[in-house]
Symmetry: C2
Subunit: 324 residues, 2 copies
């Protein structure tokens, strides 16, 4: 006997520099994956063409393969307003900002599409096929240029009243901290986003207390990747940077845990590749500060779907819209 | 034509000094309300007797009135573990701490009961009949000796993986703040709980910069109520205390808003009686720090059910267990 036929969702992840698409099966299999560079991200028409082009391509490939397609899911960075299907605040994709994206895509594709914020989609992807499998309540945190978040509560994406929930990067960690472009001060992102991490490294380099190979790099070229690599190679200063980053993440996670009592926190994004030096600092901060009376020990685990998480989650949303 | 017959829930609120009970109708009417002092709160047997005594009394009154009773709901302070029906960390009710409360009450009443944490119950009460009516997502914050919380998400109580969610008093507002008995540092409760508010007043009195009638009170007798009353009478120092308290609450609420995107925040408990001087400080903190790009303006509104909120919510839980 052959395998049961399964349904497939078309998943499309529109990022600041590339668009990813593929067919996502009910069992988590990905077929017909493609990634293309986006040359222009400031023109709505070009972006809409790119998205509907990928949807058409994926649909044709599904047809050729004899796959039943359940629908199309699209994710992009920014705050997605549920009621209108408009994305606000997408600095890396100015062409999409304030565009009635859901309506325009529905028109272009002559059929309904499912929209989500990129990290929200990634959370759903991890929930269906990754590190969040089997968990009813968890938080996904994506560490990159910014810090994105996604909440799976009661087994589905929680997006709040307007769609703007899960801004984990904007948990306040210092009431008198530096200004954040969001309008607040002392947001987690200011410390543990890429710029914040580099700032910590620059401060420690300027202190001059610890010798480091990072000192040889031009200051304006320093990235979290350099820091992770140097830490892995044993650089004490880089390890100190990751320890401080992990402490800030841990402080924010305490708040997250006390508010939402999740089963776990899933950590993804490029910066999470730093691995043990970062995760250890988070863990020790949590251990030192968690409410002792209820003895909660919430695991912080690495995401499993890597750079395809958003695309896979968008496909999952097309397969199971009721979880979005 | 007469009114449609409605169903009634028995609501029981076990507090640190008294037990409240009553019949809560589907339309929010309360009948047969009673409040009794609890002489001993350290003995499980006496507390269980008091609770089942109230349940029996309410059931008899319902019978006399010809009311159909849907069930019994009980709320108490502390962290209620969902799976076991055990309350952890109930310093004001040591007799209930770690007692298998649900099992013991089910046995005593020869029938199922519905349990909730007190502020969780209050949130459900406000959701059904109070300031949360018509809102799908909101947070309830009760300002008293401690700071309790309740979350209504997607129209029902959100209690998390183990039942320990909504610890709004343990949002971290200062990463290097004073130790909190919970094991963390810089929790909201340390600043805006009763002891924190009194501490702020003592500090300002010691500074001696502002004359205040509070200076005439013995320091160890000072309460948030004195401060609220003096503020209402125009005392500048007391207003400053409430402004600082409101600022800390506002900082925590920013985190709450960025994480959960609620429709509103409902503020109850004795300290919320301070009114405008407190609410204004919260509002101005929110206005100064809310994410501007999404232009969210989340109202902070006064609770409407007063000291009966927990009892009413426990009754609502008996009427609609699926919302718990």
């Amino acid at each position: 006997m052959g395998r049961q036929p399964i349904r497939w969702g078309i998943g499309i992840d529109v990022g600041g520099s590339s668009i990813k698409s593929g067919l996502v099966g009910e069992d988590g299999t990905v077929e017909a994956f493609a990634q293309h560079r986006l040359e222009r991200v400031d023109e709505a028409g070009l972006l809409l063409n790119a998205i509907s082009g990928e949807a058409t391509r994926a649909r044709q490939q599904a047809e050729a393969l004899g796959f039943e397609v359940a629908g199309v899911g699209v994710c992009a960075p920014g705050s997605l307003e549920t009621a209108t299907g408009i994305i606000h605040k997408a600095p890396n994709l100015p062409g999409l900002d304030r565009l009635p994206l859901r309506d325009r895509l529905t028109e272009a594709l002559a059929g309904p599409i499912h929209l989500a914020n990129d990290v929200n989609a990634a959370a759903l992807g991890e929930s269906c096929f990754g590190a969040g499998q089997g968990h009813r309540h968890f938080a996904m945190v994506a560490l990159g240029t910014g810090i994105g978040g996604g909440l799976i509560l009661d087994g589905r994406l929680y997006t709040g009243a307007a769609g703007f929930a899960a801004e984990i990067g904007h948990i306040v960690v210092d009431p008198d901290g530096p200004a954040c472009p969001c309008g607040n001060v002392g947001c987690l992102e200011r410390y543990a986003g890429a710029a914040g991490i580099v700032e910590t490294a620059r401060r420690l380099l300027a202190d001059g207390d610890i010798e480091s190979p990072l000192a040889a790099l031009p200051e304006d070229r320093l990235t979290p990747e350099h820091i992770s690599e140097a830490a892995a190679a044993g650089d004490a200063l880089s390890r100190q940077v990751l320890a401080e980053t992990g402490r800030w993440l841990g402080i924010a996670f305490i708040t997250l845990i006390n508010l939402l009592d999740p089963e776990c926190i899933v950590l993804g994004g490029g910066v999470a590749q730093a691995g043990a030096p970062l995760f250890d600092a988070i863990r020790s901060t949590l251990e030192g500060r968690t409410m002792s009376s209820t003895a909660r020990s919430v695991p912080v685990v690495a995401a499993r779907l890597g750079t395809q998480a958003g695309m896979v989650g968008a496909g999952a949303l097309a397969l199971w819209p009721e979880r979005g």
